[in-house]
């Protein structure tokens, strides 16, 4: 009989993991139920990779010392992951507007589980956009090996966490959708330009260098390129840091952003 009675699970770890899964699953369900979001996730690669990337490749990429197409596609893959994750994080603002945030915050779970669940839920759209980018790349004649794809996919949850954690710092404080949409631009644009997604940053200096070194995306990109270019003669010209340094930097920035972002978010909801 006791199996038939609903009871609370005592294990704290189990409950936190279950929360992360439930919250992520909810956001995935929402994407699946909204054709508009699916179409957007697929249209983004055409614009970013096909138009912006394609145009740069045709007109700007002479004299780099390495083949631009592949360099740019890795950049676009990671950029897609960051952009779509950041955009999807604005669902927190939707939740605020429908008061669903209150329902989550009143429940006995860690605020970090809520935020991590949200970020991992955002990854779903991001993976779709990454797949779209690969397809556009295929049309442009740029391909990756299965092993490279697998490695990038394996790294994407970590990268996604770093993207979402950074987004949290700003989006967690915003309470209306219009401002949130502006904030997405504010968060994603500098990352595209300064982290080396489409433009090599080997010669950055001054304030632009400082900003690029503070962005998790810089290290995510570099890590992804290290994976793809490993063992090729272009490695030295393309990759900036040792993968271990990249890992450490991503981890440190993610933890930092996560703590600041979650604290700011929880505080902004409670302190009215």
């Amino acid at each position: 009989m006791s199996a038939m009675v609903l009871q609370r699970n005592k294990s704290k770890l189990y409950r936190e993991l279950n929360t992360v899964v439930a919250i992520a699953a909810r956001d995935i369900t929402l994407v699946l139920k909204s054709p508009g979001m699916l179409i957007m996730s697929l249209a983004m690669p055409i614009i970013m990779m096909g138009m912006l990337g394609g145009n740069l490749a045709q007109n700007m990429a002479g004299g780099l010392g390495f083949q631009y197409g592949r360099f740019m596609m890795i950049g676009m893959l990671i950029n897609m992951l960051f952009m779509v994750t950041t955009m999807a994080m604005t669902s927190l603002v939707d939740d605020h507007e429908t008061d669903f945030t209150q329902e989550m915050l009143v429940s006995p779970v860690s605020r970090y589980s809520i935020v991590v669940g949200k970020i991992l839920g955002s990854m779903f759209g991001a993976i779709i956009s990454m797949a779209g980018t690969l397809v556009v790349g295929l049309f442009m004649g740029i391909t990756l090996s299965l092993k490279q794809l697998f490695l990038i996919l394996a790294l994407s949850p970590l990268m996604c966490l770093s993207a979402g954690a950074l987004a949290m710092i700003i989006i967690g404080l915003i309470k209306n959708k219009r401002t949130a949409n502006l904030a997405v631009m504010f968060v994603t644009m500098p990352q595209i330009f300064l982290s080396g997604a489409i433009i090599p940053i080997n010669h950055s200096s001054g304030i632009l260098l400082v900003i690029s070194r503070l962005m998790p995306m810089t290290y995510c990109l570099d890590l992804a390129r290290a994976v793809v270019y490993a063992g090729t003669p272009e490695y030295g010209g393309v990759v900036l840091f040792n993968p271990v340094i990249n890992f450490a930097a991503i981890a440190a920035l993610t933890v930092f952003c996560m703590i600041v972002g979650t604290f700011g978010f929880a505080r902004s909801e409670r302190n009215r």
Binding site: A3, M4, V5, L6, Q7, R8, N9, Y14, R15, N18, T19, V21, A22, I23, A25, R26, T29, L30, K33, S34, D95, T98, D99, F100, Q102, E103, M104, L105, V106, S107, P108, V109, S110, E269, R270, N271, R272
Partner: protein, 315 residues
């Protein structure tokens, strides 16, 4: 019995507000008590509930739920409470059942599975049982945005009960419900109270719902103006009244005056009485009456009179 909710000198001033929304409030609620928190619009009820359920930061004071500090031990407090918010807090895009499932997972009642049929039998049975009771079984798998307001309310009620909280906060739970649903909901909540000893903290503008509570607290402009059992409130405030009318109104008026009873005319005679019982008065009247009613004071009468007396009309 011991206090399960203790509120000491609780004050809340919203950001940029001139006046505090809740001003130095003190009260306690005993374990298992049915407690009504009444007051006009804007009195500070929702503000107080939000602080008690840890979703709003207080300005000063101490709040303890089941012995835990609502700020420093927020998580332990959250384990104890369930709430129906005044404003709906459902995910409109998910189905009704998905909303419940999400809630059940966050409270550790079951592991998440991506479909109702995949969920454990205990969960499925409980959802079905509760949906049957509040009458939303037919719409359980429809998106919430397609449900009527009352059905959404019922869904929130199920959701708040699925984790059997020790203290249940109900912020105007029956707004938008039809009469039949209201009644069946209260039957159910009373049942839960009896079976699980759940403490219920109720705010409502349907004062009749608070008729059977153990204690009433009235809050007005952020201050508590009364806190007592409902009978006491009625006793201290209300006169009993007879409502009479006759074809020969002149004769009735004379008789009432002779008995030393004052009255007001409002289509019929409203006769407050004290000392004499209603029966004694009626026995002494010879005029043939066309209307005879004994006005039983309700909590609502007492409450309205109390607010008027204490100058508490909401502006």
């Amino acid at each position: 019995m011991s206090a399960i909710i203790e509120v000491n000198d609780l004050t809340k001033r919203y950001k940029n507000a001139k006046e505090p929304a809740v001003n130095c409030v003190n009260f306690t609620v005993e374990d298992g008590e049915f407690f009504a928190f009444l007051g006009p619009n804007g009195a500070g009820k929702t503000t107080t509930i939000s602080i008690l359920t840890t979703t709003l930061a207080k300005t000063s004071g101490i709040v303890r739920i089941s012995g835990f500090d609502a700020e420093k031990e927020a998580r332990k407090v959250r384990e104890k409470v369930g709430i129906i918010f005044q404003k709906p807090s459902l995910d409109p895009s998910l189905s009704a059942e998905e909303n419940i499932r999400f809630h059940a997972c966050l409270y550790g009642m079951c592991g998440y599975r991506p479909g109702f049929k995949l969920m454990p039998a205990a969960y499925r049975n409980r959802v079905m049982e509760l949906a049957e009771i509040v009458g939303i079984k037919d719409v359980l798998f429809k998106p919430v945005k397609k449900l009527s307001g009352g059905m959404q309310r019922k869904l929130e009620i199920i959701r708040s009960l699925i984790h059997t909280p020790q203290v249940l906060f109900l912020d105007e739970p029956t707004q938008g419900l039809d009469a039949v649903s209201r009644r069946s909901l209260w039957d159910y909540i009373n049942n839960v109270r009896k079976r699980n000893g759940t403490t219920v903290f109720l705010t409502t503008h349907y004062i009749d719902e608070a008729e059977n509570v153990d204690k009433v607290c009235v809050i007005n402009r952020g201050k508590i103006t009364a806190c007592c059992p409902p009978e006491e409130m009625k006793k201290s405030l209300l006169r009993q009244e007879l409502i009479l009318n006759a074809e020969d109104r002149g004769s009735l008026a004379t008789e009432l005056s002779e008995l030393g009873l004052s009255y007001t005319l409002d289509g019929y005679f409203i006769v407050p009485y004290q000392g004499l019982s209603a029966q004694q008065i009626i026995a002494r009247l010879n005029t043939r009456l066309t209307i005879l009613k004994i006005h039983e004071p309700s909590l609502e009468d007492a409450y309205v009179e109390f607010l008027n007396k204490t100058g508490g009309k909401a502006e």
